[in-house]
Every structure is written in C-alpha cells, then in structure tokens.
C-alpha cells in the first residue's frame, strides 16, 4: 500500500489486492495453474511465491474440476481461498463444482455451511487467443442463483473488489478481461474500499444510456466521447456486478434518458444483454422513446486472425452507430 498517487497497471492493482489479502488474513491462500513459479499466465501473481511460499501460493495440476473443488472444500473448512482459473473457457471443466456445489451448498444445508470461495478468471477476446481462450461466458454464471459475479473494469475496482469478495460469505466469481491487464492509470491516493452490490455511472449524459461492464467499458467510454463531439450526451453505466444486477441504477438512468443501448462482449442470443433488455422493459417500458439496442459480439466462435477478431467484437464505431439508431439518426 502506498499513500501516494501513482501510476499502476490493472495487473499490478490485482496483484496488490491479492498481496494485501494474503498479508491481512492467514486463512487466505491462492491456487491455480501456473500461479506460482510461472507467475500466472497473465503475470498477475509474479513474485508472490517468493514472498509467501508454496503453502499459500499453490501451483495446481491441470484439472480445473479438482482444484476448484479443493477450493470449495477449503472454503467449507474455514479458509478463504482465491482460486485462479486461466480463462473462462477452462472454467467449464469446473462447472459442476461451481454450479452444483459452490452455488448450492449454503441453500442445501439450510445455511449451516458457507462457501466463501473467490474464483478469479480471465475473460474476453482481443489477444488473438482464438476460440478456446477468448469467450465471454460471465453471463452464464450470472444466471446461477447462489453465485455473485463481479467484473472489475477500472483500476479502483481491480484493486478493491477482491477484499469485498473475500469478505462475502458466498462464492464470488471475479472476471478480469484480458485486454484490461495492461491498462495503466492513476490510482487515487484516497481510493476507498468498493462494494460488490452496485452499478455506477461512469459518465453522465442526458440523451441515452450505454450499459456495459468489464472489457467493453473503455470502448463504450470512447464511443461516448465520439458522441459528445456530435452533441449527443451518452450516459455510461458500468454494471460492475452482473449478479445480483443493480437494476435500480440502470433503470434510474434509462428513465432519465429514455433510450438504452447495451454493450456486451458476450453473444446476443440468450445472453446477459437480453436479460438487461428485459429488465428495462419490465421496469421502464413506459419511459422509453426507442427500442433497447444491443451491441454484442458476432455470433461466431471468436476468430484467430486479428482483423476478424476485431471485427467480431463490439467496437466504438458500432456503439456509436447503435446509439444513433436509438436516437433516430
């Protein structure tokens, strides 16, 4: 921790959060593939093995089901494990542990057991990692009662969401978008702990609401900047938490602007963006001036070639176009 304003990367912010948790609570430990000696596939955990030793920084076999299950067991046993999964695509191997165990045990035991496990994983495309390492499946997890799903996009959230997640008695999934790790910026010295309950308005505007989270937040803010130059005031909402959804913040904004476009790197069909659109219909239909728009990834497995990958993902130009469509332009 430092009391100075300084420039750090998202990666550093996550590392600091883990380090702080390890220092603060002896029941916290980290495990996952290559988190120790290799320093993490995105170099988030670099140096932690040297500082905290193999008891608390544990390299695991390549078996997501086994080590996520072990994390759930440790959490049931009173520990506060941080489990890292390389990418959300691989988390599917642990789907049984996450959905059938972590999410259910509190409810099936009548509240006798808590599962305070924190599972971090990378999500999203943009690094030419092709279709088996680039998908955005956080919306699937947001479907599951018993889980909390958070998507830190800013340095502040990267730095402080982990503490809130560890403090929560429920399993919390943290999705870190791969394109955010290298983003750097100034973390304010007076940064304070954040909650994992609420969405937040990242940019105020009066003409339409752009709803997004995670990796597409900055693309959406870029689009809002382009729109501002054309005289359109776009309000940008960072959902931050995908489950439970903070519908109130969302609806308050839509009721004000009367138009909404959802930007989600997930696919359109059967998606989180569909859920958000439905919430807006349920809560603000009579306030709307236009159908809710969506900018999502193309409905293809994310392609490997760079230009195709870029074309498959939501981009500022598409967000601007959707905003204009909602405005009738």
């Amino acid at each position: 921790m430092t009391d100075r304003v300084r420039e750090i990367t998202y990666r550093d912010a996550v590392r600091e959060a883990i380090r702080e948790a390890l220092l603060a609570d002896p029941s916290v430990f980290l495990m996952g593939e290559d988190v120790g000696r290799y320093g993490g596939c995105y170099a988030v955990t670099k140096g932690l093995l040297d500082e905290f030793g193999p008891e608390r920084i544990r390299d695991t076999p390549l078996s997501e089901s086994a080590f996520v299950g072990a994390g759930i067991g440790a959490a049931l046993g009173g520990m506060r494990p941080i489990v890292e999964i390389m990418t959300v695509n691989f988390s599917l191997l642990a789907l049984d542990q996450i959905v059938n165990n972590a999410a259910t045990i509190r409810h099936m035991s009548g509240g006798q057991f808590e599962v305070p496990v924190v599972i971090r994983m990378a999500t999203g495309a943009g690094r030419q990692l092709a279709a088996q390492h680039s998908h955005s499946l956080e919306g699937w997890y947001a479907h599951i009662p018993g889980l909390k799903v958070v998507t830190p996009a800013t340095l502040e959230d990267a730095r402080f969401m982990l503490a809130a997640a560890l403090a929560d008695p429920n399993p919390v999934l943290i999705f870190e978008h791969v394109m955010l790790y290298n983003r750097s910026g100034v973390l304010p010295a007076d940064a304070v702990p954040v909650d994992i309950r609420s969405a937040i308005v990242r940019r105020p505007g009066k003409d339409l609401t752009l709803v997004t989270y995670g990796g597409t937040l900055f693309k959406t803010l870029d689009a809002a900047e382009i729109l501002a130059k054309e005289g359109v005031g776009a309000e940008v909402i960072d959902l931050r938490v995908l489950r439970p959804l903070d519908a109130e913040t969302l609806l308050a904004s839509v009721r004000k602007t009367r138009r909404a476009v959802i930007v989600d790197e997930g696919w359109r069909s059967g998606s989180l963006s569909a859920e958000i659109s439905a919430r807006i219909m349920e809560g603000a239909f009579w306030e709307l001036d236009a159908p809710v728009g969506r900018v999502c990834s193309a409905e293809v497995p994310i392609p490997y070639p760079h230009h195709l990958e870029e074309a498959a993902l939501p981009q500022p130009a598409a967000i601007v176009a959707a905003a204009k469509a909602a405005l009738g332009g």
Partner: protein, 385 residues
C-alpha cells in the same frame, strides 16, 4: 510481427534470415525476433518469393505489423489477398462503418403511427392528440420530447370549458331513440297553422324593442304549446312501469342542435307560467349554455314534453320520435308562404306545419287532435300568450 505469447504486445526484429528474391516455403525460418521471453525464430506459413522487407532489423513494432511482402508465383490475385491480410494493424477498429442489426424496420404504409411508450404516456397525461404530431424519433416515431413540445404549444391558450362529449351524446341519443322506437307505439298528427296573426303581432311588438329584447317566433310557439298542455295533461308527463304519470309542472324540453353534431333538449321549466319575455330570455340562455356544455343536470332530466323546431333548417314537417319516458313531441317546420283560402278567397299566407308524435299508451288521436287544435287557436290570438 507474430504474437509469441498471450502477453506480447510488441517485438523487435533482430535479423532477417531471408532476403528479397528468396523463395520460401511453409515452415522456413525467415527471421529472428526478440521478445520479453528471449530471441525467437519466426517461421512462415506461406509459400512464395519475398518481394521486400517492410521492417528493418533493430525496429520494434506492435504485434500484427506486417514484416515483409511475399509475392506468390501464382496469379496476382492471390498476392493482393495476402497483402490485405498482411496489412492488418493491431488496434484500429474496422474502417468500414459497422452495419447495425435492424433495430427498426422501415415504416411501411399507413399503419398505426409509431409512438414511443414514453410519448404515449405523456400524451395521455397532458391530453395531447397524437394524430397531428410529427415524430422526430427512429422511423419517424413520436417521442417524449415531441409530445412535450406539443403540450407546451397548446398550454398558453386559455383553458376551454369542458366540452361536450359528442360521441357520448350520440350514443345516448341512439340508445334513447332505439328504446323509443322499440317501446313507444307512436301515432302522428299534423295540422297547418296560419301564422299571419302571430307574425304580425311579433313584428308590431318587436318594432319598439331593442334587438336584445326582441321576441322570436320560437318563444311564441313554445308558449302556445305550454298553454295548450294545460288542457291536455295526457301529453305532459312520463310513461313508466306504473303507466302514465302526469308531469308535476309543464317543463318544455327544447331541442337544440349542437355544433359538430348532437342534440340536446333542456327544459324551460313551468313554461306555462312564464311571460313571453321571461321565456325568451330563458330560451336564449339555454341555447348559449347548451352549446358550451354548461347545462344543469335538472334541466336535462326535467322535460315533460319536447318541442322540436326545425324551421331554421328549411324543413316543412317534423316526424318526431318521442324522448322516453316522455309521451309526446310537438314538431314545428319552417313557416312558408302558401296560397291559402281565407273567407272564400285565395290569399298568400305564411303557414306552419305543426305535428304531434304521441304515445298511444297515454293518449289517442282524438285527444291529440284537440291538443293540436288548441295550439293553433292560441297562435291565432298571440296577444293572449
């Protein structure tokens, strides 16, 4: 510059292992690149001839930057395709404007106008009619702001008095008349009244009066009906489940046409007891208030008989439909000049067709004839009215 690791954003070209003009085939090592993980040999997936280098040794370039152009020995089209593929740069968004999925289908034909939910709700709240608004929204949809503007433009006008609901009035008339035709066994009588005396008397009386004080023929006719009813109680009252109930007073419903359609027949109460001047004043007042929708409910429920005067509408004869539960309707047509036999001589006279529609459950034709004759008689001595 190939991506040689998930985290690699740039690489430095250390050296070229092939020169322009060299033929390369898939799997050949063509260059050495320095990354954070060390020096790595770059092999090639294409077959062809290296045309030229694009990056000089020692240069650091982002992942995705083309390093060289490979000319194919096959037709040129393949070269062009490769160049396109090779000129991809790491970050810029696709240059072509992205095509949006069809958020809004183009509006076709004249269906229901597009009105946003917010606009529809506001229009309902502010009483704004949407038909004539022009929408500024997607596909010409009427938006909240459009309604807000329309409401603001409408607001400065003085609030109009509550208007009659003409559609509702039409429904009420329809229901009452259907009931009348269904239930009331009408009979009809007609007589022609020589108006010479009445018109002469009116002319004489009005000659000395200011326009506002002048009497109209209508007042005379209503008064004559009221007076005649004094001797014809079976035409004044209501027919109910208990049979005919004579009216407690003579309250003459006076049919007044409403601009825009519709008809109302408020009562001139105790018309038999009013002076012609008072009756005239009431008539003026009722017409004005009927047309502004400011009638009192008692005036609408009270009439014990209805008088319809369609003289202004250029008809000669009224075939009335009784307003239930009333039992009679007296109709006056237009005074017309006709050849008329007076004392054995043909003379030009202004005459008026006067009709009676009456309920056979309450009266019969003989009584009706007497009633009409009495009206006629009274109009022959207007000074007694």
């Amino acid at each position: 510059m190939p991506s040689l690791g998930a985290d690699m954003e740039a690489g430095t070209l250390v050296e070229w292992l092939k020169r322009p003009g060299d033929r390369v085939r898939r799997g050949d090592i063509v260059a050495v690149v320095e990354t954070q993980k060390g020096a790595i040999e770059v092999d090639i997936f294409e077959e062809g001839v290296i045309e030229r280098w694009l990056v000089e040794p020692g240069t650091t370039v982002p992942v995705g930057t083309p390093l060289a152009v490979i000319a194919d020995t096959r037709p040129a089209v393949a070269v062009a395709e490769m160049e396109v593929a090779a000129t991809v740069t790491p970050t810029p968004a696709p240059a072509a404007p992205p095509s949006m999925p069809p958020l809004l289908e183009p509006r076709t034909g004249a269906g229901r106008p597009r009105v946003s939910p917010a606009a529809r709700r506001l229009a309902a709240e502010r009483g704004v009619t949407l038909d004539r608004l022009t929408g500024s929204g997607p596909g010409g949809a009427i938006l909240y702001a459009d309604v807000e503007r329309a409401a603001a433009e409408a607001a400065p006008r003085p609030a109009e008095p509550k208007r009659l609901d003409l559609a509702e009035m039409r429904r009420a008339i329809g229901a009452a008349m259907a009931r009348s035709k269904r239930e009331i066994p009408h009979y009809y009588l007609s007589t022609t009244v020589d108006l010479t005396r009445s018109l002469a008397w009116l002319e004489e009386t009005n000659a000395t009066r200011a326009p506002a004080q002048r009497l109209l023929l209508a007042a005379l006719l209503i008064k004559a009906v009221a007076w005649a009813l004094g001797e014809a109680a079976e035409f004044n009252g209501f027919f109910t489940a208990e049979g005919f109930q004579p009216g407690a007073g003579i309250h003459i419903g006076t049919a007044i046409a409403i601009r825009g359609g519709g008809l109302i027949a408020p009562a001139i109460r105790d018309a038999d007891k009013l002076s012609l001047e008072a009756l005239m004043a009431q008539l003026r007042d009722l017409v004005a208030r009927a047309r502004s929708g400011a009638l009192r409910s008692s005036e609408l429920s009270d009439p014990t008989i209805t008088v319809t005067n369609l003289g202004e509408r250029s008809v000669e004869t009224v075939f009335g439909v009784i307003y239930p539960p009333q039992v009679a309707l007296v109709g006056f047509g237009m005074p017309v000049e006709r050849p008329w036999v007076v004392s054995g001589e043909v003379a030009a006279r202004r005459v008026l067709t006067t009709t009676l529609a009456a309920d056979h459950r309450a009266s019969d034709g003989h009584r009706g004839a007497l009633f009409l004759a009495n009206i006629n008689r009274k109009l022959q001595s207007p000074e007694t009215l």
